[in-house]
Symmetry: C2
Subunit: 427 residues, 2 copies
């Protein structure tokens, strides 16, 4: 709960509430109805929550607003676009340095796996995190969260996974927590100890998993440092059998699960889905039977096209087929130093539309209400409706389609995060 003064956003050129969304995002042709667009709209926030939404003229006539005008911070949003704050449901911000050598090597022709084998890749980030003090790690995470906020993101899922030892994974989760306390938005921490097998356990994945399942997961759960457990289930990472062991341990310790799947090769999904993961992420190499399974499940498929783009793959997850088959799709940045160095949800929306042929409306839904579902936040985040957390982005744009249309510039001018107004430069 925020202690800030009530806020009234009024004269909003285009207010996108997502109020009528069913949590699975709009279907093509139903965009405007489903996005809950209000022209000349208003939003009243108090106590960190949305109190009401509607037309400006009704909001200004409202009895409570009239009686409390002195106490309310009024924000004139003439000519602006207001959206639910973006929910970035897949990020890896707990690292120290960009991986510039990997970047240059890959351009010159080295593969993702060859870079990893040569001691680059995840392992170089692991060295950085293990050496770093918690204060530096916290500062790096907070700086990334601030970049996200500046582009309209108010909720972030933040994974550990570059520690790969009990001490360094817990240090990462601690740093995420202390950074989150200094940030106005909402952070969900995920333990991704099963990101890669660390060097000291090379060739002995089951021994590393003993450590993950018998120490890291129990301690993270007991100390409430993580809200989810994640595993990278793919070639070169963990097998299906190994991943199921991680899921079992999470269940025993009362933590919900999510996984990286089918990024490099096809991951069998059936057994993983039996654990009811909130989200399965990447899903580049899913086949028709996987898509059917996902469509019948309550699991969100989170697409992270920033990675496909940065790696120069020229191929993207089958977003159209997933959506057209009835899978609920979310979008996230996958912010990380190896394969997706971006904190920008608008950039990801642009990729979704230009490269995966998602409509602008589908992309907005995937970045708000659907990604809220992917974090089990569908009751509190992802749309602008009474009772939900007061999380909104204010953009210098006339139309929601502009968010995915302009490339490489930031039109976010201010955000409200848990009822707190954070102004950008130009507002």
């Amino acid at each position: 709960m925020s202690s800030s003064r009530p806020l009234l956003l009024f004269n909003i050129g285009q207010l996108v509430t997502m109020q009528s969304a069913d949590g699975r995002g709009p279907r093509r042709g139903e965009e405007l109805k489903e996005l809950g667009v209000i022209q000349d709209g208003a939003v009243l926030c108090a106590g960190g929550k949305i109190v009401s939404t509607g037309k400006t003229k009704d909001a200004l006539r409202d009895g409570w607003v009239k009686r409390n005008r002195g106490a309310v911070v009024e924000i004139d949003c003439r000519g602006k676009l207001v959206l639910p704050g973006f929910v970035d449901s897949h990020t890896h911000p707990s690292f120290i340095s960009p991986r510039l050598v990997d970047f240059e090597e890959r351009i010159a022709g080295a593969s993702y796996e060859r870079i990893a084998e040569a001691g680059g890749g995840i392992r170089s980030s692991v060295e950085g995190v293990r050496r770093a003090g918690k204060a530096l790690l916290e500062q790096k995470i907070l700086s990334s969260l601030d970049e996200m906020l500046a582009q309209g993101t108010t909720t972030v899922e933040a994974k550990s996974g570059y520690g790969l030892s009990l001490e360094s994974e817990l240090k990462s989760l601690h740093a995420i927590r202390t950074a989150a306390l200094k940030w106005p938005g909402t952070v969900v921490a995920t333990l991704l100890a099963a990101h890669a097998v660390p060097l000291e356990f090379e060739g002995k994945p089951w021994e590393y998993l003993d450590l993950v399942c018998e120490e890291m997961i129990p301690q993270a759960a007991k100390r409430k440092l993580a809200q989810f457990v994640d595993v990278f289930c793919d070639r070169g990472a963990f097998s299906e059998e190994e991943s199921l062991r991680v899921f079992e341990s999470a269940r025993e310790n009362g933590l919900p699960v999510r996984a990286h799947v089918s990024q490099l090769t096809r991951t069998p999904l059936q057994h993983l889905l039996s654990f009811g993961p909130s989200s399965l992420d990447h899903v580049d190499h899913v086949d028709d039977s996987d898509i059917s399974l996902l469509a019948r499940s309550n699991t969100i498929a989170t697409l992270v096209p920033g990675a496909n783009h940065f790696l120069g793959l020229g191929k993207y997850p089958p977003a159209r087929k997933l959506i057209d088959t009835g899978v609920a799709v979310a979008l996230a940045t996958d912010y990380n130093p190896g394969s997706s160095p971006t904190t920008s949800m608008p950039f990801v929306l642009s990729l979704a539309c230009t490269q995966m042929k998602m409509s602008p409306a589908e992309a907005i839904a995937a970045a708000t209400i659907n990604s809220a579902w992917a974090l089990r936040f569908q009751r509190s985040k992802g749309s602008i409706e009474p009772g939900k957390d007061a999380d909104v982005g204010i953009f210098n744009a006339k139309d929601y389609r502009e968010i995915a249309y302009w490339m490489g510039t930031n039109s976010c001018e201010a955000v409200v995060a848990n009822g707190e107004l954070v102004r950008g430069q130009k507002f």
Copy 2:
């Protein structure tokens, strides 16, 4: 000439001067030598020009600097990256509105040409420009130039081409000139009357070309409103024969030429090259013989991957083959509302590296010294060396490779344009 006070940038973490560049950009493996990198560097600017570059310790010991310390504005660039200001050598900023309907239609499957046939495409921008007053057009152009400056661009080539009548093409060129007068950087205006055949001349391209060649080009030249003449020579636009007529008229009127070629289909280059164009742009569909011709010419090949990306083509110009064959390659945004809505050179550099496999060093060279060549500015722009214009970008980065590495965020904190310091938010 600027009347601003002298500037001393010192303690520069990494200063990239491009001083040793030969104007054709570095070859792979020679990056650091060719980029002229100075660690802990300094740049002294006075009278709008670069006076000297070197190590900070030498700059601070310099007699002139010691005697004039009170008069000099000193800028501590500790931990920062300093680059030559970007030269964006291909933009179309003279338009009124984004083309959101085209964007949505294309995602749903309509082709570039089908959108044009349906009255979208260039023609919808033409309607907007013809209806607009000069003041509105100037405001739109200036706002785009300011976005460019905020990302480190100090020199911009700005085309007309959405007027397609004598009055509206001259109005566009006037608006470019008056916007440029209010902007600290340098603007080069290009007459692109031969962008498309306007509706009123449909089926009569030669009649439209009479107007272009007998009225527009002579008037633009006489009134010094344009520094170049451009033509779109491709399927659906102007034929080789028609384009050569435009080049002839430009020559008669004393204006140098450039052209859009081989974007949609292969354009024959030999006759166009005989006019010594400063640049041929797009060059998606060049074959080996075209590449040989380009390599033997003094013409720059300007690549605009923003368009390939935005159109979702999945294919890019053959940058590696061009560079490896010895063609001098420049990069530009192609900023326009139909196929490349971006003002960001860093975004284009990111595309160049991730999608076209240019090295970060090649991309920096292509966006500075080579694009200066593309505008015949190689003597005054594109590198930080004594006697050249004081145009630099100051970035929150440690290493020039970061410019192409991070995606969707802007690390430019300040620029110096013609000796004038323009600070961003965070500096």
